[in-house]
């Protein structure tokens, strides 16, 4: 079985801070990580390989610096790594990204595609389903458990207030929840090996026959960001310090009465 896991390299948004003076994002010094849901996807794939054999390929679209994310995936135990990288791919929205990744997948072949549910920088959760549509294969989102049964995958889908157990024939695409499992660590030996392996880089020329060049990149994307801004803090409220507990309680009661809560 050929399992391909799609990952994204993202800034660790928990480390992103706002400059209180300019109210802009401080991107400097923010580490790049493998998107957490995608890392759970790697764990899912590696476990599946332990169950049924086959290979796990990790695929990432991004700039050349995404190399380190792929090395990390190799150091966790993936068999091979593919980087989709080209100037033409830059600025793609989810539709365009999905079409590039689908082209990459068609180029390298797959039985099962695994993606994370969503990325912590964009939070769209759209690329997985959109890849599935481009590949014309079934998608099963929000997987919390999965196992293989011959040519079928059995997936336990976390669907808000219920779980659906779904049986899907391969090839198919599964999006994994971060809750799936705590991803394994890299191993020291895995890291040493990872840097001895070749990473396959597929550029625009390699994929241009598998996609429509008009529909990729910033120009080919249906959606465009026209404005981005940081949120303004609400107007100053009242701050009360140096009150005794009873005084504080009295102040709260007065206020709650004022706003008709009690």
């Amino acid at each position: 079985m050929r399992i391909v896991v799609c990952i994204k390299q993202v800034p660790d948004t928990t480390e992103v801070k706002l400059d209180p003076k300019t109210n802009t994002l401080i991107r400097e010094g923010v580490p790049s990580i493998i998107n957490p849901d995608d890392k759970a996807g790697l764990e899912a794939a590696l476990r599946l390989r332990e169950q049924v054999g086959g290979t796990v390929t990790v695929l990432c679209m991004g700039p050349p610096q995404a190399d380190v994310a792929l090395r990390e995936a190799l150091a966790m135990g993936c068999d091979e790594a593919v980087l989709l990288s080209a100037r033409e791919f830059g600025g793609s929205d989810t539709w365009a990204t999905a079409s590039i990744i689908a082209a990459g997948l068609n180029k390298i072949g797959y039985d099962l595609v695994i993606t994370g549910r969503q990325a912590i920088d964009g939070d769209t959760a759209q690329v997985g389903p959109q890849i599935a549509e481009q590949l014309k294969v079934p998608q099963i989102s929000y997987a919390e458990e999965l196992y293989n049964e011959g040519e079928y995958m059995i997936i336990k889908q976390n669907f808000d207030d219920r779980y659906n157990t779904i049986k899907a024939k391969m090839p198919c695409l599964i999006t994994i929840l971060g809750e799936f499992a705590i991803p394994r660590y890299m191993t020291v030996g895995g890291i040493v090996d990872a840097y001895e392996k070749e990473i396959t880089v597929l550029g625009f020329e390699d994929l241009k026959d598998l996609l429509n060049p008009e529909f990729i990149g910033l120009k080919g994307s249906p959606t465009n960001v026209i404005k981005s801004f940081t949120k303004q803090a609400k107007g100053q409220g009242t701050k009360l310090a140096d009150l005794s507990a009873d005084e504080a309680v009295a102040a709260i009661i007065q206020k709650l009465d004022e706003i008709h809560i009690i």
């Binding site: 920088d121 759209q126 808000d160 219920r162 157990t165 803090a233 009295a250 009661i253």
Partner: protein, 335 residues
Amino acid sequence: MCKDIYVVIEQRDGNVQKVGLELLSEATRLAESLEQKVVAVIMGDNVASKADLMFKYGASKVILVEDPMLKNYVTEPYTKAFTKVVEEFKPDMVLFGATVMGRDLAPRVASKIHTGLTADCTSLDIDPESNLLLMTRPAFGGNIMATIVCRNYKPQMATVRPGVMKLIEKDSYEKGEVVNFKVDFVPEDMNVEILEVTKEEKKHVDITEAKILVSGGRGVGGSEGFDPLKELADALGGEVASSRAGVDSGWIGKERQVGQTGKTVRPNLYIACGISGAIQHMAGMEESDFILAINKDESAPMMDNADLGIVGDVKVIIPKLTEAIKKFKETKIVD
């Protein structure tokens, strides 16, 4: 010519989900300046009885797609059904709830018909010049907001975060047209098999429905630290919520988590107890009507965002507050 704002109404086990009505209310506001209509689309099996409700929240037309294959949500049949609706009626805009269903269905549909889709929007508007839909959403873990447009493709599609748009029930309304739209399904459309559906046993707590939330953070000190918060919530008729710190520490269940990775709430009163106010948390509760913060640390960001910030020890103040509220309520009854 594409026209009208379509809202995909989500039903589960035949029950209409609230977010659909929120979107009808919002679409009604948007449609005014465009002089367009609001159309509700309900997919399911035997859901015709739900049509009336749609008019109450602003729809002037309802499209029903009924088929046994649509009884429960499955990606492929729903994608086919809604794609046919788009192809037939050519909407200008389509709004989905950013629920597990909406975020599974909408991207698949957008991909199929080749149009743009903006995920998890928290605010919508119409650009007065171009009449384009301005879709605003948080990104970067809630650190920035981005406004997105879809210029050259129709329909313009968005999924919208539940609980963000105000629900507006109309006092008077007319019942509009109900269209039964038939989609021909073949057995192959059901391309996966649902083997089993299990509901979670634990009581489903929906903190997004609560009018009052008493929320605890790292400052409450442990799972037992939530007990006094529960008592206060009971006295106020509210629910207990938590920041991620409380959930990650295993003090309280994830279903009560507020914030970027939890739920978005906008209660009438949000009491933040020992919550520092990390940006990820603020993203989920800053729209609350009134924020009361109690924290030992005067410089905690939450204190700057609160309508009333009390510098003090949560462990001391909360039990006293609970008692005081009980007393206060008694005096009111006597009056």
